[in-house]
Every structure is written in C-alpha cells, then in structure tokens.
Amino acid sequence: MSSGIAFEHVSFAYAGANVLDDVSFDLPEGEFCLLVGPTGAGKSTLLKMVNGLVPHFTGGTMSGRVRVAGREVRGAAPADLADVVGYVGQDPLAGFVTDEVELELAYTAEQLGVDPAAMRKRVTEIVDLLGLADVRGRALARLSSGQRQRVAIGAALVAGPAALVLDEPTSALDPTAADEVLSALHRLVHDLGVTVLLAEHRLERVAQYADSALLLNGGRAVWGPVAEVLAASPVAPPVVELGRLAGWPGPPVTIREARRHAAGLRDRLAGLEPAAPVEAAGPPLLEARGVTVDHPGVRAVDGVDLAAGRGERIALMGRNGSGKSSLLWALQGTGRRSGGRVAIGGTDPASLKPGERRRLAGLVPAEPADLLYAETWEAECEGADEDGGAPRGTCAKILADLVDGLGAGTHPRDLSEGQRLALALAVTLTAAPPLLLLDEPTRGLDHPGKAALAARLAALAAAGHAVVVSTHDVEFCAEFASRVVILSDGAVVADGPARQIVAASPMFAPQVAKVLPGRLTVGEVAAALEREADGTGDAAGG
C-alpha cells in the first residue's frame, strides 16, 4: 500500500453521464504527477475527489476507493480531510478567506487547532520556503498574481498535508510568474516529500517538472512516465509533438532533451527557408497616439503608440499588470482613457455612442460570459441581432461558421470554454467591427482548442479585420500572430514581426524556437519537411 494518492476502480457519474470510468492508479509518496487530458475529460472532477469536494459539493454517483496517505477518503467530508490533502484552485482570489498574507497562511492551521507556537513556526517556514518573506504582512489585494498563487499554495501546505492537489494553478499567470510558482512547487516536492497532483492545460510549462503523468481521456486513465504518456496523448506540448514528427526516441519532454536530438533535423531544415508568410500590409485602420490610462494611484498605460492595418494579427504580450487589458479597453473606447488620441478609420470610438462604437471596434472581454445574458445560445444570438440592428439570423450564421455541434437550447454558461468564447466572438462580430480585440482568450482552452481559435482569427484577419489579442500564452502567440507588441509597465518595449520579436526574447519564445531557431510552430516544421519530401526543387529555387 502506497502512502501517496491511490484510486482503486473509481467510477463517477453525474446526471446520468459517466465522467470517470473505472479509474485506477497509485502515486507513490513524494511524486510530482501531471494530470493531462482534453477539456471536459473530468480532470477537475478527479482532483476534487482526492479531498472529497466531489461528491460532497457536487452530488453524483461514485464507486470505488480513494486513499490518501493510507487513509480512506471516500465518504469523508472535505473539512475533515484538510490535514491530509491541500487543495489549490484556479483563481486564488476566489478561495481567500482572510485579507492578509499571514492570516491566510495560518487559516488552515487555526481550523485544525494547531498550537499557536507551532503554528507560528510553520507559517514562518512556509513563508521562507515559498519566498514570501517580503510580503508576509501585506494585504492580499495588493499582491501580484504570482504571489497570490504562491500564498494559496502555502496556505494549503501549512497544515502539513501528505498530498497537494492543484487545478490549473498557472492558467492566469504570465510565463515568469508561472515559473516562480512551478519552481516553488518543485522545491516543495523535494523538501517536504508532498505528493503533488497537478492539472494544467499549458503542458509546455509543467511537463519538465513532473515525475509522471496521468492521462484522462473519455473517462479512462493511463498512468506512466511523462514521455510515454504524452506520446500517446491527444494533447501534448509542442516539444513532444515535434519529437513525434521527427521520430525522436522518448519522445523528449524538455527543451534540453530535444536539443540533443535536434542537430539532424536542424541540418535538414537549414536549406529550407521558412514559408514566407504572405503579409498583406492592408490599408491602415487603427491609429493610436500617446494613449494613457490612469487608474487611481497607478498609471496603467503610459503613452502607447500603436497603428494597425487591416489583415494584421497582433499579439499584445507582457507580464500580469503591464497594462494590456487597460490598453484594449481604451482602444475600444468603452474603457477609461486619460490622454492621447485613438482613431479607427478616422473616427475616435470614445466620442461615439456604445451602439455605434461597437461597429468600429469589438472587444471580447477576459470573462466572455460577461457578454452573455440570455437563457439559451439561440436567444443570445437573437438578442445580439436586436442589439446591433442586424438582420435576423446574422449572429447565428456567424456562430455556425465558428463552431458547430452546439446542443439546441443549451444555456451559455453550460457550454464548454471554447464554445462560450465562440459565442461571445459571434455576438461581437454581429456588428461587423473592422477592429477586433480579444482579452486573454486562451484561458481554459486545450491545445486543439487554441489551434482552432488561431485558425478562426487568421480567417477573420484574411477577411479584412485587424485582430489584436492580449495573451500570456507564448505557444498561442506563435500560432496566431503576425506581429507582436510587448508591453512593460504600461509602455511598449518591443514591436515588430512575430518571428523577430519572439525569437529575441527568452521569456516569450515558443518551445519550437528554442529547439530549432527560426521556426515557431510544429506545423511550420511539418510543412517545411513536406515541401522537402515533395521535391527539392522548391528549396533549391528559394
């Protein structure tokens, strides 16, 4: 019997639908296990089972046994398991009970009745372990998002649990903050011997830290070494896909492993120029000069100049809090703008009424559900037609182009993340704005979902829209962008073709570029290899 996390023939059904089907695995103590699977595969359900939130909070039918550190978990309430399992959710702010770092860290220990002297010692240890010493007396609202996530992890650890369960802990974080969080976790596994089970869509960030992986697909689970599991997985980080494409043994999971194999492929590709993307420099559309946005006590955007032409696909990157959202909202005209000029096709959107403004620029906010308020997606589409004064059926037609297979009469909040995003996008596009802005659209999307979004946006750009997307996701950026603008502290620090900007920045370079300099995506490499296979004429001619 292991003293980590063990599932024995666990099945779970909710409202008649099977979510998990005879799942068995046995994580040894101190293992760092990565839970992978497509959206909707039941990853969150499995994680919540470890500490009893499923089925206690959700209902449903469960069978089989779950044991953590040798203790039977099934049937126990989450509160009674707080000393064995720490649970960290996606949005740390939603789970904070107090408003100060130290109090938050001590909360679980208080609940468990830990002796005050021991509690003080534990809190101090955790603070040091997670590098929170500088902020220990601060209010939670004043922390950066990476610090918040580390506080949430620390708060789950103070009671000294045997297992730590994390549901997409880095999905809202920029690459640097995500790295801070993950390396802190890595250290915990070594120092405290905690068994960690972590679900994440951005596999490229996590795969290198994990000891093993658990693939959940269609209710079934497969557990094994990271490389083996990812090789068979429908979702895999680019480096694994590259390895599959090139037939590297393993396949390699980390950049360093991949580089060792890459010499041969690099030589093969050396003669092949990347397919020069046809950059149709469309007629200018957006002209922003010296845009400044002040929030109380902080200048979020500081004199940004940005011009965009039709057909351009711009990725706006930068750390959390670098002013990306504020800039998008100011460009659209609904958000606050303290200074500077914005002209879309010669008109300042802020001077228009909201109804006319959205015909110039459409914005899909970071929480797409904010745009939706009808009971069904069909009603939502009709409402969008009415709002925009568009002919009946316009929105439904756009939506059908973006996504298919929506169940009739589904509530917008019951759609999957990708479908909901498509609906919000269709609602926005109903007004036919030439400028399309999206704020962090990739949260909660798996790799195929992101690829589909990139393809959709590229089609829209080809149809004459200018598309500006703010994102943390370097892999999405590599798939999507023709141009990258990097913001830091509200100012533009880099602006240029995606290929140059991304390659020059270690923080924003996609995995493929790190292995094969000059190439951004697996698709690009595959296309180049295909052209090579078709005949060397192209390469020689180029």
Binding site: L53, H56, F57, P78, A79, D80, A82, V85, G86, Y87, G89, A94, G95, F96, V97, D99, E102, L103, A106, Y107, T108, A109, E110, Q111, L112, G113, V114, D115, P116, A117, M119, V123, D134, G137, R138, A139, R142, S144, A156, R319, G321, S322, T334, P354, G355, R357, R358, G362, L363, P365, E367, D370, L371, Y373, A384, D387, G388, R413, V427, T428
Partner: protein, 382 residues
Amino acid sequence: MPPAAPSEAPRVLPRRAPVRAAVHPAAWWGWALLLATAAGRTANPWLLLLVAAVAGLVVTWCRGDEPWSGAYRVFLFIGLSAVAVRMAFYVVFGGSDGPTVLFTLPSVTLPDWAAGFRLGGAVTAEGALAAAYDGLRLATLLVCVGAANALASPRRLLRSVPAALYEVSVAVVVALSVAPQLVESVGRVRRARALRGNTGRSPANLMRTVVAPVLHDALDRSLALAAAMASRGYGRAAGVPAPARRATGASLLIGLLGLCAGAYALLGTATPAPLAWSLLAVGAAAAVFGIAFASKRVPHTRYRPDRFRALDWAVLASGAAATAGTVLSGVLEPAALWPATNPLGVPELPLWAAAGIVLAAAPALLAPSGPSPTPLPPKGTP
C-alpha cells in the same frame, strides 16, 4: 481564546508587535459605537455635525492605507442620501406640521383603508427642519459606522471575537465581503453591456442584463469560497458531542437576543431606564456564560491574536466621554438635546455633550498613523 501555550507568546510578540496597526480593532469599533450612541441620544444639529466632524478628523489622522480605508467616504455618501431620502419622505408623506408654509403640493387623501395618510399637501419649514434633524441623526450614525470600517477592517475585528463565535464570525466576514464584490461585479457587467451596445434603461432590460448576471456571478463566487473554506477545514466537527453543541448554541442565541433587546431599549427613549439596564445586564450575563461555556469546547486556535493595551483603553475612554457628555446634558439641559422646531429657532449648543464629543477626538493625537506600517509594493512588481 483557548488557553493553549500562553507561556510561548510573550517571548516572540514584543519584537513583532510594531508590525500590527497600533490600536486594537475592538477599541476602534467600541469608540465608534460609543460615538454613535452619543449621536443617537440627541437631535441637536450642532452636536450631530460635531460628531461627524470628530469621526472624520480621527479617520483622516489615524487610518492606514489598507483597501478598506476609504470606507468613511462611502458611508458619508450613504449618510447624505439618508438625509435626502428622509426629506423626500417628509415632502411626499408629510409629518409634523407648523404655521410657516413654504409651498403647497397638490394633495391626495388616501381611501378609508389607509386613512390618516395624506400624500402631498402643505410643506412647512418646521416640518422640514424636524425631518432634516431626523435624517441628520441617521446620517451621523452611519458616518460613525463608516469611521469604524475605515479604521479597522471588520474582518480584523471579528478575529478578536471569542472562539465560540468563530463560525458565526466567518459567516459575517463572508457576508461583509459580498458588498464590495457586488460593486466590482456590477462595474464589469455594465462595461460588458456597453460593449454589446445595449444601453436600454427599462427595468426589465436592466434586470435581465445587469442584475441577473451579477447575481449569477455572486452565486458562483460563494460556491467557490464555500468549497475553498471546506477544503481548508472550516466546519470540522472535531469530536464535540451534539448535545453540548446545541446547549452552547442556545445559550449564545438567548444571550445575544438579550443584548440586542437591552441595547435597543437603552437607545430608544420609550423604555424606562432601569428596565433597559436590567435587560442589558441579563442579556450580557447570558451571552458571557454561553460564550465562556462554548469557547472551552472549540477546537480552533488563533494565530497571533491582537492584544488589548493601555492605548486601546484610552481610545475607548475617549469614546465613552462622548456618551457620558450627552448623558450628562440629558440630565442637566434636556431641552437643548432635543431642540424644538416649532416655533422655529436656532438650537443651543449643550456644553457638556459638546465637550464630551470634542474629547472623543483624542485618538487623533493618541494614535496618529505614522508612515505606512506595511511596506509598499516594490516598484517593478506587476
């Protein structure tokens, strides 16, 4: 507080104490409530304005730079709207009357089943003044609560409640955090609505496009918070037998009801004072018993509890001075506390009460907020 390891705490505490805000949150709330009690015992506009000014002065001098420090302004605004609402009610529904008619509104007499009610009619200066005094009193009470909020977050206050009330206090904390979240949520949903070009102002439209999404959001958040709290051990049964839990619960409830009834009787003018005081005493005794009984059985501990020190007593005493002043004036010069509005006249300033309230400004000198106790975020951190 459970009696665990008292010998350990003093050794570590003195070194770290300066990190905490200087005054105990219970002292701030006590001070503010005493000030509010003083305001509740008078309708004299000079005294009420003085109370509001003292509260404002102390807030300005003593508050930190935490997120809740702006609460005073919010409550001031709510107070002003209370005055406005009270005036509007007087104009529409009438109230006390006098000989000086300012203007006359078309009047409607309600049918028999609502006899005694008139809508509209003559608006008199005397009635308006009485309504204004009344509204001002309510506004001042609100301002006092706002001051307490700005000086000490209610969450920190609740950390100091006895262990037996722990579960209740967490429920209250969660309820308190809903309001600011709703405000933020409404802002977000309204902006998103503008993105859709929907600017309709009909109630049905607002209900569908603003109220429903905001409530949806609030519900999602509460579920997330409940799940997070449960996974962190909130509400562990931890082996307390059910009969004991029920007994403590009942004595707590009775005690709190007694306290409330006593406080209400004391603040209202209709109940004879001896009855009010005895109600309060009985209620307090029941509450103390229930809390002491329950605290012994609670399996929770507290991380670095705030201590009550001489400074905190001084703050409390300055608040008590305001209440004492009004009580004294109530005995010596009751007419000045409740100035007549018919006939019209400039109310006098009751000296004892005024002196007491001025004393309540002492915390501004005793515990001014120095340079920010918490370090500001480093520049480069996003």
